[in-house]
């Protein structure tokens, strides 16, 4: 398909996967990433293999795709770049590509939004003390350290009791975040197993609402139970500094087995924070006039096509997804985009 080009907004794994798919089909792509590197949030995802066995988090699927997209002649990667003034112009879209304050007018036959997600700020869940208590961290923090400093980073820490708290910032109608972020159960259980396998002396407790277990690749929950990770149904009301030992956190929770409030102490509390659409998606939706659902994700009727013809969504800007699911969704978005181009080029 000569003389066609598609602009993909966002160079995380979804944008990269969509770009690769289109390029393999002969479509020229401008891939625009605001950061100086491709990869987005996946750059902080660590390997969670336990006892020599992969846990299917998909973190390892990224590197080869990032390299492949850079080597792809039909893909032009624009790093540290943003897009402004994007608007429909007849059968195409015109926009300005801004790289280091240099503006360039460009056009594209179709647009794929792949603006990804932000981690929900754990500080918005005040009672859990994130930011104020040093022993309270987020799953994102833990994952980033494991990736940057290696899997042994928590081995030497004296962690007798570790708690994970699920659904922080997610499934929370009071905060207008009623959605399930889909990834936090999986990463938390996998991280808990990794921690448990590396430090067998550590007792791990996971406070949860409902573990999202569906899927052939989600055996981690059953394995975690076998390995002695304790699951408690119900989320703690509050996390405080322990009065007995100021290095520890005290978690106050409702024990549904006894119906009583209980306090347990932990050396480390990991908040499994959810994910929300990036603010870029909001801007894009407003400029282009595409619809968003009530939680702010780009609304799509049929998987990837958005409310305006020629604009598609790939990955987490449309709904929370794991890495491998994002790759599949981005492929579907690229496929839908390719078909649109076929229909509109004759």
């Amino acid at each position: 398909m000569p003389n066609t080009s598609v602009v993909i907004i966002g160079g995380g794994i979804s944008g990269v996967a969509a770009a690769l798919n289109l390029a393999q089909r002969g479509v020229a792509v401008d891939l625009v990433e605001r950061e100086p590197r491709l990869g987005g949030n996946t750059l902080d995802v660590c390997c969670k293999a336990v006892n020599g066995q992969c846990q299917h988090c998909g973190g390892c699927l990224v590197a080869e795709r990032l390299r492949a997209v850079c080597a792809e002649p039909l893909v032009t990667v624009h790093l540290s770049s943003t897009i402004t003034n994007i608007q429909p112009a007849g059968d195409t879209f015109s926009y300005q590509l801004v790289t280091a304050n240099v503006k360039q007018a460009k056009s594209a036959r179709a647009v794929i939004a792949a603006t990804g997600f932000d981690h929900i700020d754990a500080r918005t869940k005040g009672p859990y003390g994130y930011g104020a208590l040093s022993m309270v961290i987020t799953g994102e923090d833990m994952e980033r350290r494991l990736r940057a400093e290696g899997q042994s980073v928590y081995d030497c820490a004296v962690l007798r009791d570790v708690a994970f708290i699920q659904c922080v910032g997610s499934r929370d109608e009071h905060a207008n975040r009623g959605w399930c972020s889909q990834v936090c159960c999986r990463y938390a259980v996998r991280l808990a197993r990794l921690l448990g396998a590396r430090s067998p002396q550590t007792n791990i407790t996971i406070f949860k609402m409902d573990i999202q277990t569906a899927g052939r690749d989600s055996q981690a929950f059953a394995l975690a139970q076998q390995e002695g990770i304790r699951f408690i149904c119900g989320l703690p009301a509050v996390v405080r500094r322990s009065e007995k030992d100021s290095a520890k956190a005290a978690l106050l929770f409702d024990d549904i087995n006894t119906g009583q409030f209980r306090t347990n102490e932990f050396d480390l509390v990991v908040l499994a924070t959810g994910i929300e659409p990036r603010s870029d998606a909001l801007q894009l939706a407003e400029t282009l006039g595409v619809e968003r659902n009530r939680f702010g994700f780009l609304a799509s009727q049929d998987g990837a096509a958005l409310s305006i013809p020629g604009i598609f969504a790939a990955g987490c800007c449309q709904s929370p997804r794991s890495i491998s699911e994002s790759i599949v969704h981005a492929t579907a978005a690229a496929e839908a985009c390719y078909r649109y181009l076929q229909e509109h080029t004759q």
Partner: protein, 382 residues
């Protein structure tokens, strides 16, 4: 190049794959053991209902499938194959822990009764009944089962205006659909209870299920379907020379191949619930992925081998078949080299992993396309 794609399986999953492929203008040969669902009429589609694959030969770009469809036989030449045979559900009586009693139903039976609404088994008018829907009863329910059961629970509530409760262990909400479904259900007064380990008790007075807050009494208990890989998966996998996982679904559970629906062989792809757990939306997305896999493969004018592939030195080969047994991609076969028979690597099918080369007891196999440093070269061997 032949651009026919063979789609194997009569499931809804296969129907979506066929739709996707036709939209991409591929010729499709659709083979199913059962009657095939209605599909868009298209010149590109040849349907082979009530047919079994009896033999498969060739490789990516030129597979040949022989079908036995009594009384006639058919042959399909296809460039690629998509397996989309779906899964199967266990009958309710398959597990003795679920009491056999007229008050205990499968979702299918309830769905049938729902479309003929008057009375249920003479127990009481439907409106005054309390119907319990149990997810996760014997094992945690997958997405397909959860969506089907919750949609049925809501439909029952809407149709019969009866009391409906849902029992679960871990409620799946991790998709837009499930989230809005459970929200709607709660808004309509359907109550959710978390199951305890105890099994349901059924007697003439009703069904009784222990849950986290007490005991729930109802008139009927509807059990979410329990799905398993199809029993004929192994046979088809054998014919196609592709792997099954330890759990019986297609392909080992491997992070690099699982989601994209790749099999261990070039040109054979997997779609839908023969390899993953998904609701209809997920299976549709997977069908699009399978079609994209094919489109990427067949989008080129000629199929190209990988840059690194194995090559057999036919004069060194002792025909021990080790390479044929060990190749994870079924890419080695016996072939005639003039007068001699020896192992031969099918170039298009080779992934270039080198397992054959490392396993060959006489070092007859070398890897083409790799720079081997002097210190590693065979010539340096004593």
């Amino acid at each position: 190049m032949n651009k026919t794609v063979a789609v194997l399986g009569g499931s809804a999953d296969a129907g979506w794959v066929v739709e996707e492929l036709l939209a991409l203008s591929y010729s499709v040969a659709w083979v199913g053991q059962e009657d095939l669902p209605d599909s868009p009429r298209s010149d590109g589609l040849r349907a082979y209902p009530r047919s079994r694959v009896s033999a498969v030969s060739g490789c990516v770009g030129s597979f040949r499938l022989e079908l036995s469809a009594p009384p006639e036989r058919a042959v399909i030449d296809a460039a690629a194959i998509i397996v989309a045979m779906g899964n199967q559900r266990l009958p309710l009586g398959a597990d003795a822990r679920i009491p056999a009693h007229p008050r205990v139903l499968s979702t299918q039976v309830l769905a049938e009764r729902l479309s003929a609404p008057r009375q249920i088994s003479g127990i009481a008018p439907a409106q005054r009944q309390h119907i319990l829907f149990a997810l996760d009863m014997l094992e945690l329910s997958g997405k397909q089962a959860v969506v089907e059961t919750l949609e049925l629970a809501l439909r029952t509530h809407d149709t019969w205006h009866c009391e409906v409760s849902v029992l679960y262990r871990e409620l799946q909400v991790d998709s837009d659909l499930l989230e809005s479904l459970t929200r709607t259900m709660r808004e309509q007064g359907i109550v959710f209870h978390r199951l305890q380990d105890a099994l349901p008790v059924v007697d003439d007075s009703g069904v009784h299920v222990k849950h986290a807050d007490g005991v729930l009494d109802g008139d009927l208990l509807v059990i979410a379907p329990v799905v398993r890989p199809r029993s004929d998966s192994a046979e088809l996998a054998g014919l196609l020379r592709i792997a099954l996982g330890a759990d019986g679904y297609f392909q080992q559970l491997n992070v690099r191949s699982y989601r994209p629906g790749l099999s261990n062989r070039k040109g054979i792809y997997l779609a839908g619930r023969c390899h993953l757990d998904a609701d209809d939306a997920g299976a549709r997305a997977d069908a699009a992925q399978a079609a994209a896999n094919v489109a990427i493969l067949l989008g080129q004018d000629h199929l190209q081998p990988e840059t690194v592939i194995a090559e057999v030195g036919s004069t060194k080969c002792i025909r021990c078949l080790t390479c044929i047994r060990t190749c994870p991609h079924a890419a080695v076969e016996l072939a005639a080299y003039g007068q001699v028979t020896a192992a031969k690597v099918v170039e298009l099918a080779c992934f270039g992993c080198g397992a054959c080369a490392a396993n060959c007891p006489v070092r007859a196999i070398t890897m083409k396309g790799i720079d081997v440093p002097v210190w590693l070269q065979e010539a340096a061997l004593v």
